[in-house]
Symmetry: none
Subunit: 194 residues, 4 copies
DNA sequence: AATGAATGAGAATTCATTCAT
DNA sequence: GATGAATGAATTCTCATTCAT
């Protein structure tokens, strides 16, 4: 396996366990089983790792979302599944996600962010487009803009509950329910067959 | 002016300019015009600054919100004003807000976060409660839960647009409009007199 | 004593003992009896020490020269004493002097060099001026220019003998004699009373 | 062209541009267009490069000197040409020359230095010998010793002017003239046919 | 011979925190 | 309370050198 990938995976694991602030480069390379100097062959600093990690996390999220969402289910069901999936990822990786949401921990690497998130925006956008064409949601929806709003809504509330109400599962469930309710009214799901 | 206040304001300024990661205590005290050691008379450590800053920022946000929102306007108008106000604060302080949203840059002081944000949640909660009682929004709204969701929605989308679409004003306006539209359908504003 | 002075003196000593290349900042501070970080309060790097050391060495050289040269002796004698003195300093500090001669080990700090050496040039210049006025040396001598040439002559030959003929005393003596002979003819000492 | 030569020339170029202290092996091999490891096929270490470079520079100097000096001209003219030539080389390579003069940047390889410089000493020595035999300079000259003194004189003053009066051509010319005047009196050129 | 990714010992450097004044 | 020079533990980062291909 490429050393670069090894570093990224190792970093995610270590960040997960001991927090980002407290993680030293030496922790990352130890876990990755490579030499200290090798790290610098691939990344100039700890922070420059973040875009690569963000990419990995977004990919991970999309992967789980796509595997959770059943394309043949009703759209309202599909969005429910999506919320479930996103909450799931945030439950597990809440600290890393927090840093990703906050602009990759610094202003340096932000330009890349847009392109990292793009495929996810697009996926939801297409889902909304299809739903609208089938009349499953209100016609005034603008898929691209709404996609961003929906992701913001889901991720920020997931963040709230996992970062601050720290692993209170019932609280998370109630929050999720509320978000779904909020989303349903915002999109105005119609009962049509998908 | 108290040195403590001077430190907080200086820190906000410096964070704004060079990012939080890269800011040293020495930068903060230099700007504040006080000695290095004086910092520790008011804050036991560097990290303990963050809650104080968050408090300041939330207070600032609430202040602007309260001064912008016209209590006698229709509720739909009031929420529009609120969105405007929150976007305003985020436009100016997007980097600091990013850090506040992401858990105060570290997991240590999170407990305090809840209490810092509480008055803001409460204010919106009461607004929703009143609106529901007057029949201005749908009856199924649960004020406390919805308050959190609304703040998450507004702040995360504001963050998206200011952090990543970096000061593209027209983009910000379109995003704001979309959020308002989304919110309107979610709350189902009725045309009643306020 | 000032920490800065302590650092400079410590550095000269350590450079003397183990060579400049091999000397670590930690060696210097250890000898100076201060903390590692304190070094950086006064000098940004090891190389930035060099102008300060050069200044010290030039001062040391001038000091020895002035104490060795007898103002009431014949000029030819005075120049002999000067050569003796300069060779003496170079014998003891040949490695440090080598670095000073080579432009302070880097091109960065060269501007300062001129001003460091100035008082030494001036001293010789005045000596030549006086000698010429008294008719002790040839009238065509241009004091300022010749001063530089003389210092170059003495220091470079001293360097040759101490750096390369490494502490071969008889070789050094013969070289010194040759330089003096060379110098005498170049200046054309006349036998006049000083 | 041999890789070894490529390395030496590349090193001279890079040293010239960024200084010796700051030059890494990787810079040298990059410029030479060869792989990092290849360096070690030709030189056992970084420091072992220096004598090779010195050799190259001395050879270059001798080459220019020999091509500039007209054997059939008067000796005073020949020495003038020699000074010109040496100043020329120092004008172009002052930084590298500085390092060579200062003992090859470290005390390790000094022994080799003597043998590197030997042919140059010898060449001048023979020139002086011939001049003395022909009665063109004073009879008391000791060719071998004087050769060293002359080289020291010329090189150190050239160094002074190119390293510190940084490329001030008129200053260089005046210095050169002074050196020549100084040298003429020291050698006591007689007007005889060469 | 040539390569260049990988190494890791070793040094530089940082900066939050302390404390004598 | 205020100061700011001094500290030194903790980390980052460098780069000459190696070695499997």
């Amino acid at each position: 396996m490429g050393k670069k990938t090894a570093i990224i995976h190792s970093a995610i694991e270590v960040f997960q366990e001991q927090g980002i602030e407290k993680t030293k480069i030496s922790d990352i390379v130890k876990r990755a089983g490579i030499a200290q100097g090798t790290f610098y062959l691939y990344f100039p600093s700890k922070l420059s790792l973040m875009p690569a990690i963000a990419e990995e996390m977004v990919a991970k999220t999309m992967d789980i979302v796509q595997r959770t969402v059943d394309d043949r289910a009703a759209y309202s069901k599909q969005f429910e599944q999506m919320v479930d999936a996103i909450y799931e990822v945030n439950r597990e990786y809440y600290e890393i996600m927090a840093v990703i949401y906050s602009g990759l921990a610094s202003t340096e690497h932000i330009r890349e962010w847009e392109s990292i998130y793009a495929p996810f925006y697009e996926w939801i956008s297409e889902k909304l487009e299809a739903a609208r064409e089938e009349g499953a949601i209100r016609q005034s929806i603008k898929p691209e803009r709404t996609a961003k709003v929906i992701i913001g809504l889901i991720e920020s509330t997931a963040e709230q509950v996992f970062l601050y109400a720290h692993r209170d599962e019932s609280e998370a469930d109630r929050q999720k329910e509320e978000v779904l309710d909020f989303l349903s009214h915002a999109l105005q799901f119609k009962t049509v067959k998908s």
